[in-house]
Structures are given as structure tokens and as C-alpha cells.
Subunit: 198 residues, 2 copies
């Protein structure tokens, strides 16, 4: 389309980002080149630094540049409650939306027997070790409300029971602002069966 | 929200992109870190190279890493037709959507007297020089269909007339797939007055 290799390569690299197509890539490239070159250099550096330094916490497996992440190292957090999630993004989402002050455990996936992902592939022995070593009272099962997420939660609940640890599951129901009419049957059914006193 | 400076900085830098908010930045960062580190390094390099090398063509002012862009240097293009647009993005859009084989002139803005942007600020003397020096037969006025875009087109049409060059304006009307019911009055009025034999 153009014969400018540097611009062409920038457009192609931007299109690799999730949710970015031809038009957004063009908009982003032109914004950076016409109006925000310091922003382009800043993003370039941030990407290089993150790609080179960020790994997974050796305790909870979330993203961190250190061996142990800042949450795990923070003695003011309640080590008695571990919230188990599928991805580091779930950690950010929960921290951004709630005032949860316990610890996390990131599975980096979910049980999916059909895809050959069993307890070993998910490294669930690490979580079992934590239940053994740490003063855990409650394991919050915050896997997704998908079939695999439910299978994973079920497996984890049995693991918690073996260690005498209470397991809880995040609530399912009508999302904030959700209109009943447009909800799928599973959500509506969960919302009804999980009803509380008003 | 997190206390991981490298991740925090990557999220902040991504949020500077147009159309990217907290959630998209998170999705992009996690995609790159969990599933596509080569993509992160590629984008980092592409941004640095583009920011350092890309400037404006000395003839048509579109983005290029050379003194004269590949379009201006391409002798197979019709130098008798110059399409005047507001931004380099318009050049990419027109090249992507049409088989236009003439040359371009990028204003890098539009006339906007209220904002103090007059002919001098837009560097219109450069375009006038092209009308004088080059074998131009037609000036296609492809500025936006906004008030300033129309003012700019009007000014350019008068400039063309002074040089005995034919000026044409891109058509306004119903966009492809557009439903009359939802169009604004200006568009509908243009579509009706610009009607042709069927
Ligand atoms: Zn950790
Ligand atoms: Zn050029």
C-alpha cells in the first residue's frame, strides 16, 4: 500500500496487538508520528523493558520483575486468604475493582482434559504446596464461569477439602446494569438459584 | 494498582495510544507478555525506528523516511493530477480504497481562521509553487466534509483558478450501506442535490 518500509513495519507490528485492525493501526501510527513522538519512544522503551524483565512470581505466578511479587512480599496482606484466578489479567481486574487484601494464585490456564491440560500441566502441585506450607484459611475460587473454569473450581475445592481449608466460589448472577431479557439461560438460572433476602 | 513499575509503565504507555483505555491496555500488555514476547520486541523496534527516521516528503509532505517519498519519485504516476488531503492518514486511506495513480499534497491541517491557522501556517505557498512548477491539469480537493474542510477547499479552488488548473471536489452523499433514516440533514441534502441519471 505504501512503499515506506519503516511505516509499513510499524503498521504491521501494531496490527499484532489484540483488537487492532488496519484502521486502528493507521490511527495509532499517525497519532504517534504526527503528534506524539515522545510517546512513541516511551512506548518503545516500556515494551523492551517489560519484555526483558517481567517473569512470573515464584510463589503466586503472577507477572513480576522480581523473584517474589510485591503482593506476596507485602506482610500487611492477609496470607490466610488465597484467591485463585486463571490469568495475571484477572489479578489486575480484581485489584482494580475491589479492595481484596489477601494473596493470589495464578493458574496461567484452566483444567481442560480434552486439550490435554491436567493438574500437572497447570502446576497444581505448587498450589497444593502452598496449602501445606502457608497458614491458609480460605481458598477463593475465582476461575471463569465457563465449563473449564467450573471443572477447575471443582478440582480445587476437593484439594482444599483434603487440606481442611474452606473453599468459596465467587458469585454468579446478573451483571451490573444487566437486563434480564438479554441474559443467557445459565446466568439467569444461577441468578435465581443464588437469590438472597432483600 | 500494582507495584510492578515495568508493568505499570507499559500499561501507562499503552494508554497514550488513541482509543486505548485501562481495559484494552491491560489486554494488550498481557497478550504481549504471556503469549507474544517476540511481538513486544518487534513493536518496540518498529516504534523506535519510525520515530527516529520518518519525516515529511519535501515535495508532497506525506510521511517518509526519505527526502522525496516513493510516490513522488515514481515516474509511472500521473503528475498531472494532485489530490490535496489534510493528513498522511488520508493518503493511506485513499491508496487503500482506490486505484488513484496521481500525486498527493498533504496540508498537515486545514484552514481555521478562528484558531489562527491561515494560508501561511498551512504552508500553502508550497502547493502554489507546485501548481507553478509542475504540469498540473487537475487539483482534486479531498479535504474533509467539515466546515474548515470546505473553507480550505474553497480557498484552494481559487488558487487553482489563478493558475488555470481545473479544481474538482470529492463527492458527498450517502455512505456505502448508509440508511437514509439515520443520516444527518447536511449529508442527505448533499446526496439529493448531487443526484445523477440512473
Ligand atoms: Zn506473588
Ligand atoms: Zn511526496
Amino acid at each position: 500500500m505504501t512503499t515506506e518500509p519503516a511505516l509499513e513495519e510499524l503498521l504491521a507490528a501494531l496490527r499484532c496487538l489484540p483488537g487492532v485492525g488496519t484502521k486502528s493501526a493507521r490511527r495509532m501510527a499517525l497519532h504517534l508520528l504526527e503528534r506524539d513522538r515522545p510517546g512513541a519512544r516511551r512506548l518503545s522503551r516500556a515494551l523492551a523493558v517489560a519484555a526483558d524483565t517481567i517473569g512470573h512470581c515464584s510463589r503466586c505466578r503472577t507477572l513480576t520483575a522480581a523473584t517474589i511479587c510485591a503482593r506476596c512480599a507485602d506482610a500487611s496482606r492477609d496470607a490466610g486468604v488465597i484467591c485463585v484466578v486463571e490469568t495475571p489479567g484477572d489479578v489486575l481486574a480484581i485489584e482494580g475493582a475491589t479492595d481484596f487484601r489477601g494473596l493470589f494464585h495464578v493458574l496461567l490456564g484452566r483444567l481442560s482434559p480434552l486439550d490435554g491440560i491436567g493438574p500437572a500441566e497447570l502446576g497444581l502441585d505448587r498450589l497444593e504446596q502452598r496449602l501445606h506450607d502457608e497458614p491458609v484459611r480460605e481458598l477463593i475460587l475465582a476461575t471463569n464461569a465457563s465449563v473449564e473454569g467450573e471443572v477447575t473450581a471443582h478440582y480445587l475445592a476437593e484439594m482444599a477439602a483434603r487440606h481442611g481449608v474452606r473453599a468459596t466460589r465467587i458469585a454468579q448472577g446478573v451483571p451490573a446494569g444487566g437486563e434480564l431479557e438479554y441474559l443467557d439461560a445459565g446466568t439467569l438460572s444461577h441468578a435465581l438459584s443464588g437469590r438472597r433476602e432483600y
